[in-house]
Symmetry: C2
Subunit: 254 residues, 2 copies
């Protein structure tokens, strides 16, 4: 889950691992966490006590749960991206207009992260949460962002990329991806046809920033129901592209 290396300040690393375990296990007691991390109970207990003291973790009874303090940090982190405020309302309208899930994603480091996701009205609307990381090579937002990056940057990102995740339809070879990205660049539009997960089709438009660089991507994501309809091919491209344009204008004016 987290990048492994022998870092200084090991205690911090341990605390972070405890926090992520708290997410994975959906809360739990000292013992559960200790054996999940293969640490001594006493050490985990010390950490938890600290985290509780910091107000980051709350305990009710013998259960420890993640506290809401991170909400503030997370909220701040994403407010650093001007695209969030500029696009939040646009995502609402896009989702309503298309009748499916919509959201925004940005590039952080070498990975594409979901900034905001709104579920569609359909029953099995794809679940995605803000903060989730998306594969760059087999998702619509990933490709939309990748295609708009400078050559060197793109190479960097793809260099240490496993190309492992995704279904069989995902591009096996770099060459294929390079070819596809060229057409993505040309149209400012990227498509994912069940390359990431079965029954999931996505479409995304690149959002460019005032500096000419890429700010992120805005996407639509459908579940299996919408397969047959031709709206995906006919209406959706226009919808996401005009949304992207409006966000770009908002970014410029801000």
């Amino acid at each position: 889950m987290v990048a492994d290396a022998d870092l200084p300040v090991a205690a911090t690393r341990t605390s972070m691992r405890i926090l992520e375990t708290l997410v994975d296990l959906d809360g739990g007691g000292v013992t559960a966490i200790a054996e999940a991390l293969d640490r001594s109970k006493s050490s985990v207990h010390d950490h938890l006590q600290t985290l509780v003291g910091l107000g980051v973790v709350v305990k009710d009874g013998h259960e420890y749960r993640l506290g809401l303090r991170f909400l503030r940090l997370g909220e701040f982190a994403r407010s650093q991206y001007p695209m969030y405020e500029a696009g939040i309302e646009e995502v609402q309208q896009l989702s309503t207009a298309a009748g499916c899930a919509a959201g925004m994603a940005v590039l952080e480091g070498d990975s594409v992260v979901c900034l905001h996701h709104r579920l569609g009205p359909e029953a099995g609307s794809p679940r995605l949460a803000a903060g989730d990381r998306l594969p760059v090579h087999c998702t619509a937002p990933g490709k939309a962002i990748l295609a708009a990056l400078p050559e060197a940057r793109r190479e960097d990102i793809l260099a240490d990329h496993p190309f492992a995740a995704g279904t069989d339809q995902s591009h096996a070879k770099r060459a294929d991806l390079a070819a596809e990205l060229r057409t993505v660049t040309a149209r400012g539009l990227a498509v994912d046809r069940e390359e990431w997960e079965p029954d999931r089709r996505g479409i995304a438009a690149t959002v460019t920033g005032p500096d000419g660089g890429v700010a992120g991507a805005i996407y639509l994501l459908t579940g299996s129901e919408s397969h047959s309809g031709k709206r995906f091919q006919q209406d959706f491209p226009g919808l996401v592209i005009s949304s992207a344009t409006r966000i770009r204008n908002a970014l410029r004016d801000a």
Copy 2:
């Protein structure tokens, strides 16, 4: 900002302080953070290196910024509250119907925390972000939650409460507050008439959970423009109360 005590695992505490400093200073270099915390540069540098390695902090150039990883943690933390999913759509509609800011708040530990906030269409719509902590005694959501709590719990919370924040209109005496809370309990509705901040008026309804306890509160919050209109007194109470009822029903059915 964080509760002070001599905790074990001091390194974790330092890391958390660095993260919060990153918020307060809106990002910065090693030196800035070091002197903000009165720590040696080398120590801060070590911590930052760790945090970057964990993907929690990102550095571009000589600037360190908070990363998006916390978005996931924060998102998870609030998904622990069933009220979030049950009410997110309701807040949208409430905000639209009332034409002002709306949101939800819950009780965590001894403080009331904003779970979700949607800005209203008005220009100076009150800014509040998810994760912000609200004073319990002088805000509408705070009082709405407080009033619905069992006697003992309420006493606990008010015991170590400073009663310091807020404008002059805030209740100076516990007795006054107790009296007000009784009427709040009766109506399931709490009001804040510029007690928290000038030009800010709020109204909140208690949301009760399936277990009969209080799940949280849903609120409307207006800026100065809406002062004169009588909608605040005539329409808003009905709006928030029916919203609260719908959320309660959703919680029961889930």
